[in-house]
Symmetry: C2
């Protein structure tokens, strides 16, 4: 197997220079760096990260292994992986990702992850949920992103949905809306209960009786057909019997937009709409632009990566702020 | 460092039994497997994949390294990664992913990928584009997914956009539509020219003069504001001067839906809409459901993985069929 010595010999430089080319190229002149790189290319030399780490060539190069669960079913959370990558890169760390097709991970998933010898682990899910963390993973620095574990001592960055929902409704009620119609996430979703608490706090602040609110919980995450039936039930002679529609996510809002616009109603003139998620790739398509709560995927990814990189001392669930994005729909 | 011998000793089994537990657990009784796993857990033993491969413990366990470029800007292509994962899993292979933040990959990206010692490489992009493949990566079995390289001998699975566009327009013209308005992808995108060829073929089949068609190319991928202006220009007294809107992607179609519905027009009664992409997470939100061309992300991922797993003998670009998904919008 080609060694670093072969590279040094071919390039006519010292071992130290090859090491610098691999780890701190900014310390070399462009010419020297290019000479080493050419030798590496010619010999098809593959530096071993773990070997470099053992030799202590570069204490800066650390690797984060990321388990990613549910990526494909919730494509909008890709910002979480992007921010882990960007945060790591800025700190001189590397990232690799293993997709999980099921929770908990199989023994083979865990074997594969550990065989790559990561310095720290992020366990991420694309929709907020509870996960099971195998004991063997807990031997490494570990942090959860957008999920919570059965073991509540584990560090976990999650959206602060209580404050997010409270803030959005406080904004809506401050605009004068008083007859909200809610189409919520399914009751079994983790976010449902948390957001109800925020909703109740906002209603109390404005003297609205929560028992009298028009509230519907979707039966399934993808049951958007139900949105049409719920809206239908609260229209009389084509006029909505509510002044604002509060949606559990932006996809519900998107269906509602088409149904309301198709009936000749103006948003927000005839009826206002409030979303939740601010999904990448979607949120910019609403006409008029949607006021919504932002799920802080980018911040969650950044915080999780920084936890490992900086070795932060926190424990348990860490709520991450969900900003209100005020646009034109209310 | 804990070795396989330590595990065997603690579990009271042979080295062969430990090897089987790691590689072919189905060959062991559940009790024996559990005894070995407990020993592995207790000793926090980490099997090294590369060591296993060198020892020939299990020729079935191979690893695919995936470069993923542009994931975050085009979240809808996650099915590509999902299908690579599922295809690999079914064949007893493993997958790990490295995100790229830029093209071409940096030397550090390449070092990191090769240091994980993959048996084969997939270079994937989320939107069809041309990429530059560093020479060092070509020493491995390599396949491109949803992109083409400057080196045209490389195997590359790409959407068959020519046939996709042809088939969709042939379907539309067969329904009797004859006054299409096109809002195309930006002219600089790779898909633009390919789809124009399909469009011209369909127009010829129905005797439509392509020079007289209403065609607009968006100036930027995200310039959806232009959609409103283009539609406005082709309405007289609130009536569209076209019978079908042909969209370069489903996001343009989504903007158009709201603009058309907001003017009291019925889809497809007053005007039909044809999309392109069939984006996961989006395509099911259209009311009425959108007829569109499917970008075959899942098939592309599967073909790329099978190319490596089966050692297929093909070369150059391999077009993958883009099916027409007929729904209710025309």
């Amino acid at each position: 197997m080609t060694s670093v010595k072969d590279v040094a010999r071919l390039a006519g430089v010292s071992l130290m220079t090859v090491s610098r080319a691999l780890n701190n190229p900014e310390k070399l002149s462009p010419e020297t760096y290019q000479r080493v790189r050419s030798a590496i290319d010619e010999l098809q030399f593959v530096p071993s990260l773990s070997a470099r780490r053992i030799r202590g060539d570069n204490l800066q190069t650390r690797t984060i292994g990321v388990f990613a669960l549910d990526t494909a079913t919730t494509p909008f959370a890709v910002e979480l992986l992007l921010s882990i990558e960007q945060t790591a890169q800025q700190a001189g760390w590397n990232v690799f990702i293993l997709n999980l097709l099921s929770n908990p991970p199989t023994d083979q998933n865990v074997d594969l992850m550990l065989s790559h010898r990561p310095d720290g682990l992020i366990f991420s899910t694309m929709g907020l949920r509870e996960v099971t963390i195998p004991q063997r993973l807990k031997s490494k620095p570990l942090v959860l992103a957008n999920c919570v574990a059965d073991d509540s001592s584990l560090v976990s960055y999650v959206p602060d949905d209580e404050t997010g929902q409270y803030r959005a409704l406080h904004h809506a009620f401050s605009q004068g809306y008083r007859r909200p119609l809610f189409i919520n996430l399914p009751k079994k979703s983790l976010a449902w209960k948390i957001r109800q608490a925020g909703m109740q706090r906002a209603c109390q602040a404005f003297g609205l009786a929560t028992g009298e609110l028009l509230q519907y919980d979707l039966s399934e995450h993808d049951a958007y057909g139900e949105t049409a039936a719920i809206l239908e039930r609260h229209m009389i002679d084509g006029r909505p019997q509510f002044d604002i529609l509060i949606c559990g996510n932006d996809r519900i809002a998107f269906c509602a937009y088409q149904l309301l616009l198709g009936r000749g109603l103006k948003i927000p003139g005839d009826v206002a709409v409030l979303g939740y998620d601010n999904m990448i790739g979607i949120s910019e398509l609403f006409i008029p632009a949607l006021t919504t709560v932002q799920l802080p995927y980018y911040e969650i990814g950044r915080n999780a990566a920084r936890y490992l990189i900086d070795g932060l001392e926190v424990s348990g669930a860490q709520p991450v702020d969900c900003p209100l994005v005020v646009r034109e729909s209310l």
